[in-house]
């Protein structure tokens, strides 16, 4: 019954919101949904064997419960942030309603993609995420936002079409099985035709990789992330990329079961290193802090892909990195929203002295940087360290060295901008930096995210460790 609630609630709610068009009701519904969502997700985690009506198509398992929990946490935080963010007079009732409906449908489609047990169904939901988030990216209705939304829809739709070609090829490889349920595919893995499976993995990796933001096909990501409203950027970066990644992960497991994983690993590691390289090149000379964060998302997705490709302890590192990245990047993007409200510009060169204008935002900005850079109290330090250690153990010294150098360049590139923005004097002292616009709801989610992440870097509680371990086991059960 639970899965039905989290899947059907947003559909009914968006219909009601569409008819009612009231700001207050929008806020209430979103908050209720967020709380309900978290409670239900936790209940999934506590008893894993509940019976569902749609059991054949949507199910939680050891792997996707991790992704669902991350989505629940990020969604709840972003919802509370939204209470403050949309509290401005320049968003009227109509726009606010559309925005809320957009978020509901976006969450609905991501949940569907995470929970579905059928590759075809996951694909449908990934397509739905594109449609639901396109309006949200276009929300500011400027020329730039339109350009970003158009590029987003066009590039992602081509990616999704290629993924569909991959699914057709996978179906060809199944020969007599003729089913796209993951469980059927896994149990009959030995009967799959390896030639078609290899071909289909390439198409699925490129296609879904477009949504995930891996390097050669990432080009929509910086535009969309920088032009969307900040809470939406946080959702895109911390939740959407993960749900696309889950599908790649599931298909990768199929490759493992058919012993074609060597081939898949080479593809993943080359895309991962290319992602790091692209980020290192672009982040260095960038003048828009939201684009900078978007490139950092590409980098982190690259690291996760490398972790999966390396295997062994690398899978654990990738899962830990996934959690850490989602929490820290969400906090980073939400803080970027605060900065945008205060300074009303996205240019790094025009901002300095955030600490003097708004102490809390400044510290959140710096702490988020500490987190994303992987400096010691951050979970990303642990995961990157584990990843490099595994690579050295497996004698992959040259890729490990390349990764280290690229990571250093990226940290320098981001750090330079963050320090320039946080410290120093205020450039225009007389200017009113919109002090009335920011309330507690726009600080609290980031504080919780960043504290959670930094605590996770020092001490991983046993139940969280259990979730990660289960996910790792689910990936490697041969």
């Amino acid at each position: 019954m639970m899965i039905e609630i989290i899947l059907i609630f947003p559909l009914i709610a968006s219909l009601i919101l569409f008819l009612a068009k009231s700001k207050k009701l929008n806020n209430y519904v979103l908050v209720i949904y967020a709380i309900l969502y978290s409670l239900i997700t936790i209940s999934f985690y506590l008893n894993k064997t509940a019976n569902f009506l749609l059991q054949n198509y949507f199910m939680t398992d050891q792997l996707n419960i991790l992704f669902l929990l991350i989505l629940a946490i990020i969604f709840t935080g972003v919802t509370f942030y939204n209470l403050g963010f949309t509290q401005t007079p320049d968003i009227d009732n109509n726009q606010h309603t559309h925005y809320s409906i957009g978020i509901l449908l976006f969450i609905f489609s991501m949940t569907g993609a995470i929970l579905s047990t059928n590759l075809g169904l996951s694909w449908v939901f990934i397509e739905a995420t594109t449609l639901a988030s396109a309006y949200l990216i276009y929300f500011n209705k400027t020329k730039h936002a339109l350009e970003a939304a158009w590029k987003y829809v066009f590039i992602c739709s081509i990616g999704i079409s290629l993924a569909f070609v991959g699914i057709i090829l996978l179906l060809i490889s199944t020969e007599s099985i003729n089913s796209l349920f993951f469980s059927d595919l896994y149990t009959n893995a030995a009967k799959l035709n390896p030639f078609w499976l290899k071909l289909s993995f390439v198409f699925i990796l490129i296609g879904i990789g477009t949504k995930m933001g891996l390097a050669p096909v990432h080009s929509w990501l910086p535009d969309a992330h920088s032009e969307a409203p900040s809470p939406i950027s946080a959702l895109l970066s911390a939740a959407l990329l993960n749900s696309a990644f889950l599908i790649i992960l599931r298909v990768f497991k199929l490759m493992e079961l058919t012993h074609l994983d060597h081939y898949a690993r080479i593809l993943l590691i080359s895309m991962g290193i290319l992602s790091l390289f692209i980020t290192a090149v672009f982040v260095f000379n960038i003048n828009n802090y939201k684009r900078m964060l978007a490139y950092s998302s590409i980098e982190n997705m690259g690291i996760i892909a490398i972790g999966i490709a390396v295997g062994g302890l690398g899978v654990y590192a990738a899962m830990l990195h996934l959690i850490g990245h989602s929490l820290i990047k969400a906090s980073f993007f939400l803080t970027a929203g605060n900065i945008l409200k205060r300074f009303e510009t996205k240019k790094i060169s025009e901002i300095s002295g955030i600490l003097k204008v708004d102490k809390m935002t400044g510290w959140l900005w710096i702490l988020s940087f500490v987190g994303i850079a992987g400096l010691p109290p951050s979970p990303l330090f642990l995961s990157e360290f584990l990843l490099l250690k595994t690579m050295l153990e497996k004698n992959q010294i040259i890729p490990a060295l390349i990764i280290m150098i690229l990571l250093t360049v990226i940290i320098y590139g981001i750090g330079k901008s963050v320090i320039k923005m946080s410290f120093g004097d205020i450039e225009v002292p007389q200017r009113e930096y919109g002090l009335q616009k920011i309330n507690l709801a726009m600080y609290l989610p980031q504080i919780i995210f960043i504290t959670g992440a930094l605590v996770l870097g020092i001490y991983i509680p046993p139940y969280i460790n259990q979730i990660i371990n289960n996910a790792v086991l689910a990936m490697s059960s041969l």
């Binding site: 079409s161 569909f164 179906l171 020969e175 003729n178 920088s226 960038i286």
Partner: protein, 217 residues
């Protein structure tokens, strides 16, 4: 009969690669829709369930062959776009490249018989080369409208590919229909006028405001 239809489908791709007139491109899309309709009519009976069969027939004839072309034509008239002048590579070269792709599709699919146990080779060759030619088409043209036409071509190719799975048809063909939703979004986006108000010409060269240099933004 079926083979002839598929060969005609491949030939429409070659024609689309050479022409720069929008009207001709849209007519070719319409012809492709009709070919898909006939293919389902001929081969579908034994492979597709009853309701599904009727649904797919209606979908291909009504949406692919009639509604999408009509709306694309409306966009082209409304925005006064009748030609895609100056593509990034001359039409003659794109014809040559497309022919090579199509030829390679035929050769590859007919030379590896043992791999093609459960799909129809001719379909496979033509549909894969259609997808590749459309990607080439999208990358070499400059107008947003021609990009959407290229995407529609690609979607037709994917539909043909899903028909090539020779065993009993699962939901996969119906899922392919969902890609039409994107085309609807694109066409809506251009009809609602937002793009041509903000960007005077419907040209991808104007979509270059977002980039990573230091001085702009």
């Amino acid at each position: 009969m079926i083979s002839i239809l598929i060969v005609i489908f491949g030939l429409t791709m070659l024609y689309m690669a050479t022409t720069s007139r929008i009207k001709a491109l849209i007519n070719m899309l319409s012809i492709q829709g009709i070919i898909l309709f006939l293919l389902i009519l001929f081969i579908g009976k034994e492979k597709i369930l009853h309701f599904n069969f009727i649904f797919l027939l209606i979908e291909t004839l009504l949406i692919k062959a009639i509604i999408i072309p009509i709306f694309l034509k409306r966009v082209s008239v409304k925005n006064n776009i009748f030609r895609d002048t100056e593509p990034y590579i001359p039409n003659f070269y794109s014809l040559v490249i497309s022919s090579i792709i199509l030829f390679a599709g035929f050769i590859v699919s007919s030379s590896h018989h043992q791999l093609f146990a459960n799909i129809t080779t001719l379909y496979f060759g033509v549909s894969i080369s259609t997808i590749l030619i459309s990607l080439l088409f999208i990358t070499t043209k400059k107008k947003i409208l021609t990009h959407v036409i290229g995407y529609t071509m690609m979607e037709n190719g994917i539909f043909l590919l899903s028909l090539s799975v020779a065993k009993e048809m699962p939901m996969i063909v119906n899922m392919g229909v969902l890609l039409d939703v994107f085309i609807a979004i694109f066409i809506l986006g251009m009809l609602v006028d937002k793009i041509n108000i903000l960007f005077e010409e419907l040209d991808v060269c104007t979509l270059n405001n977002l980039k990573d240099c230091r001085d702009d933004d």
